[in-house]
Amino acid sequence: MYPFKYHKAATVRGAVAILKKAEEPKLLAGGQTLIPTMKQRLASPKALVDLAGAGLSGIEQKGRTIVIGAMTTHAEVANSAVVQAAIPALAKLAGHIGDPQVRHRGTIGGSVANNDPAADYPAALMALGATVHTNKRKLAAEEFFAGLFSTALDEDEIVTKVAFPVPGKAGYVKFPNPASRYAIVGVFVAKKGRSVRVAVTGAGSDGVFRHEAMEEALGKRFNPKSLDGIATPAGNLNGDIHASAEYRAHLIGVIAKRAVAAAA
């Protein structure tokens, strides 16, 4: 790891000030992605701005919306009575990210800001139609995620919270990579009124994406059977040693059905 200067921010504003001033800074949330990357010398920020003291964690229900602070850990989301009651699929998703130790430190803000194409949260944000709040603006999930490991965030922009509208029903099923346990395919389905959204993570060569054909079919009838015969073209999917694009295309169909069946 290369050396860096460590800053601890007490507020979001303070963090922004350091971001503006410091040389090649990066935000530090749970560190569960950033630290391994730095250890392998794949990232070399000259300054880290720790958000741990910036007052960004917490979960609250505001009407029909669940608002989760950026520094809320995966474990806190998984165990939150509020989330479990309003969006059980989201609690379940958080409870299956990585392992217990990663969940104790990794945060929702770090996860969405990182936008790993195999991460779980992006699927939830897309399917639930979540809004990402930053210190500057509010962005719909679709605008926020901008392809592999990239987002709409500016250099000095900080995710402060993520707001999830409470769906009628939602389900998430993940098919884990046998080695890393990240998603090879993860499908989040959410039904709100008549509208159904299906988001797929792990598979797309451009990161998380919505599956329109499935959305249409499930909009007509929210039942696993509705997905019979809906193929996913392999052309835009990832292929690697663990799963070819064809296999991923196939899995999307299977996992989507299971997500619908699991929806609550």
């Binding site: 790891m1 050396p3 392998q40 010398r41 098919f175 046998p178 080695a179 890393s180 040693i241 663990h242 799963a243 070819s244 296999y247 196939h250 899995l251 299977v254 996992i255």
Partner: protein, 789 residues
């Protein structure tokens, strides 16, 4: 005082330090003035070193020294050796290229050692390594086991034309061909035994230290056999003469074979320590382990089995290409030959066997013994062939096995081995019972209702352990003898230290060896300590691998104990004022036949040292005895594992629903420890069958160089295991022990694949059978079924 009997599942003595965080592994050791080594490794699989310029790097902060292959050559440090000579069919010796500890002129795999930076901190060493200016002349890489000998394949060593280290064979070719001509049925399989990374959880590490006052070196290292490391470093590399080189292997966090070998890094640490006059420490990170530890397996095999009209096996024929990687590691050459082909008879009476093995160089990490070493590969060939043959000729696989089992002992196979004892039917029958094979049909139907394909697979394996009479292995090319040493020191108060050449890195020697002493001398296990892993304490030893610690290491202790007992009887005779012939020793008490006179072991020990009661002309004072034990034969653990598996048709995910193991390890000292060895072995075998695979791309980059891509078995990948035992004591050693360390890893891969092939209805299921692989198999099957309609 409680004696701990042989056969009792006493809890481990060594555990206290491990569960309290007080173990002492190599990386836990820090020496005053210590520096840190970092290796600059080749990013290319195959390249000439046109320039290695260390000038700028040398001026970087904290740098103590930087060494390259030139320094190694200037110091005349010898190359790493391969200690087992194999001859090709035409009688020529194997063709080995040089294996320098720092590359000279050429690098041959990704991770090959270009230079070492020694610095005050590891970070400084890394920084300086980045500043070394290397000009690589990149060459095409040769990574494909099966294609390594092809015309035009890049040549790894000029010493080995066509990348062929040897082409070796064993068995009677003509007789085997005749058997195949006469066969009623021939079963053919193409088998790839996937390449594995051992991944002991403790990465390799070393600390070298130089004592200038005495011109002596000490090396702390992660070794399964410190004496062998010292021998090689002294005799072949010329690091220091043996009496000036102390090798200490403290607590070692797992080995599985990978820590048998002498590696470049540890050698560099001890050599550099003298050169720079400071202790030099190196600890591999996991990526370095992936790249540079000796890998395991990597065979490509064509295998055939001939059967007659009665379902009797009449012949077996095998052609194997074994990947050696870029250099011959310490015992690499023996693995696909004498540890592999000699086991191709399995548990079966097979009259004719012929095996050909070509060992090839490639631009990949060296390959050497990994848990089982050759025997898992052999067992996979035999057990897959047997299962497939039974199905093809329409016989029940268990019945087919029973028909062909060896049932009379001793049994001479056509491939060297002489099986001394066993009851293969007994373990099969017991395992079938425990696995409720009878109820399998019903379970399969029920699974089918849930969309799951269920299969049941057997593996009736045999292995040869405790390698073996030194004369015999010597005649086969081994460069060392394979005996073991022991010294038993009885202290005046009757406590005992046992110095053993075996080495424990998880096997629990401190407990089982102490159990032997406790039960023999009638003293508490707490009064026995086992000393191992230090060449200054233990005179010599061959270390732990090949399931040899029990059968060979404990036999040596047993022999030394015989001598202790004999001498103690003499002392007791004086103490009890009786004739030596009248002394009996039992349960820690010396008694005089026909009297009630007795004295305990502790008192006799004390008397041996105070030496008041006997004439030193007749009897020397003290109570200390040593022994070198050379086995008279290999030992032959055997047994039956049954795997029941379920495959999710939609995703290809396989889950093991039930695992039954019945093993015959001969006599067992501590069943708790033995079962633990079985569990661990099964997990590694299941890993090979379902999860693990070291994959190089065509440029020779290791694609699976971290746990992110190399799937290690985790707790939820495995079931609990049903473990049972049968016992036929081993006739060739005093304790009747056969060895248990590798059995699980040997038995399990074919059990898994036999279960999967049963579930899926095709013999073509490669390892590792990942979800993707199984899904592809299911797709292929359903396409074929459709085409057939």
């Amino acid at each position: 005082m409680t004696v701990t009997a042989i056969g009792s599942a006493v809890r481990r003595k060594e555990d206290h330090r491990f569960i309290t965080g007080k173990g002492q592994y190599t990386d836990d050791i820090n020496r005053p003035g210590q520096t840190h080594a970092y290796f600059l490794r080749s990013p290319h699989a195959h390249a000439t070193l046109k320039k290695v310029d260390i000038a700028r790097a040398k001026t970087m902060p904290g740098v103590v020294a930087i060494y390259t292959g030139d320094d190694v050559a200037a110091d005349k440090v010898g190359g790493l050796i391969c200690g087992w000579m194999i001859h090709s069919k035409d009688g020529t010796p194997m063709r080995a290229g040089p294996h320098p500890i720092l590359a000279q002129g050429k690098v041959r795999y990704v991770g090959d050692h270009v230079a070492v930076v020694v610095a005050e901190t590891l970070a400084q060493a890394k920084d300086a390594a980045e500043a070394i200016d290397v000009d690589y002349g990149v060459l095409p890489a040769n990574v494909d086991t099966a294609g390594a000998q092809a015309k035009g394949a890049p040549e790894v060593h000029s010493e080995a034309p066509n990348n062929t280290v040897y082409d070796w064979h064993i068995g009677d070719k003509a007789a085997t061909e005749a058997a195949f001509k006469a066969a009623k049925h021939v079963t053919k399989l193409d088998i790839v035994n996937n390449r594995l990374v051992p991944n002991a959880m403790e990465p390799r590490a070393a600390v070298g230290e130089y004592d200038a006052g005495n011109d002596a070196l000490t090396l702390y290292t992660t070794s399964q056999n410190p004496h062998v490391a010292r021998l090689i470093m002294s005799a072949f590399l010329g690091i220091a003469p043996e009496h000036k080189l102390r090798v200490i292997a403290p607590d070692v966090g797992g080995g599985f074979g990978s820590k048998i070998f002498v590696y470049a890094e540890e050698t560099v640490c001890v050599w550099a320590a003298r050169k720079c006059g400071r202790p030099v420490k190196w600890t591999a990170d996991r990526t370095e382990e992936f790249l540079c530890v000796a890998h395991g397996r990597d065979h490509v095999t064509r295998a055939e089995l001939a059967t007659d009209a009665e379902g009797k096996i009449t012949g077996l024929r095998v052609k194997t290409i074994a990947n050696m990687g870029a250099y011959l590691s310490t015992f690499a050459s023996s693995v696909p030959t004498y540890l592999y082909a000699t086991l191709l008879s399995g548990q079966y009476a097979i009259p004719n066997i012929y095996a050909e093995v070509d060992a090839v160089y490639t631009n990949t990490s060296p390959v050497d013994a990994y848990r089982g070493a050759g025997r898992p590969e052999a067992t996979f060939v035999v057990e897959r062939l047997v299962e497939a043959a039974a199905r093809e000729i329409g016989m029940d696989p268990a019945a087919f096995r029973k028909r062909n089992f060896v049932s009379k002992f001793p049994h001479q196979t056509p491939v060297i081995m002489n099986y001394d004892a066993g009851d293969y039917k007994a373990s099969l029958v017991k395992a079938m019972d425990m696995a409720d094979v009878k109820g399998f049909g019903k379970r399969k139907r029920e699974a089918a209702k849930q969309g799951k394909l269920r299969g049941l697979g057997y593996s009736t394996y045999i292995e040869a352990c405790g390698i073996a009479p030194s004369q015999a292995v010597g005649s086969l090319g081994a460069g060392v003898g394979l005996w073991e040493s022991a010294e038993v020191r009885v202290n005046p108060v009757g406590t005992v230290e046992v110095l053993t050449g075996s080495h424990s890195h998880g096997q629990g020697h401190e407990t089982t060896f102490a159990q032997l002493v406790s039960s023999r001398l009638g003293i508490s296990i707490d009064n026995v300590s086992i000393v191992h892993g230090d060449t200054d304490k233990v005179q010599f030893g061959m270390g732990t691998y090949g399931s040899r610690s029990g059968a060979v290491g404990m036999s040596a202790i047993s022999k030394a104990l015989d001598k202790i007992e004999a001498k103690a009887k003499k002392v007791a005779a004086h103490v009890l004022e009786a004739a030596e012939a009248d002394i009996d020793f039992k349960d820690g008490q010396f008694t005089v036949k026909g009297t009630d006179k007795s004295v305990d072991f502790g008192t006799v020990a004390l008397n041996a040292y105070i030496a008041h009661k006997f004439n030193p002309q007749e009897l020397e004072p003290g109570l200390k005895e040593g022994s070198f034990y050379d086995p008279t034969n290999f030992t032959f653990p055997a047994g039956c594992h049954i795997c029941e598996i379920e495959v999710d048709q939609e995703t290809g995910v396989a889950s093991i629903v039930k695992w039954t193991a019945v093993d015959d390890f001969g006599n067992v000292i501590n069943p708790m420890i033995v079962e633990g060895q079985v569990h661990g072995g099964i997990a590694q075998g299941v890993g090979q069958a379902l999860l693990e695979s070291a994959i190089y791309n065509k440029d020779g980059q290791l694609v699976t160089a971290s746990f992110m891509d190399y799937a290690m078995p985790r707790a939820h990948d495995l079931p609990s295991f049903d473990v049972g035992m049968t016992v036929t004591p081993c006739p060739s050693n005093p304790l009747g022990i056969k060895g248990c360390g590798e059995a699980g890893a040997i038995a399990s891969p074919p059990a898994v694949i036999n279960a999967l092939t049963d579930a899926l209805g095709t013999e073509n299921v490669p390892m590792p059978a990942t979800p993707q692989v199984l899904w592809q198999v299911i797709q292929r099957q359903s396409k074929m079924a459709k085409a057939a309609e």
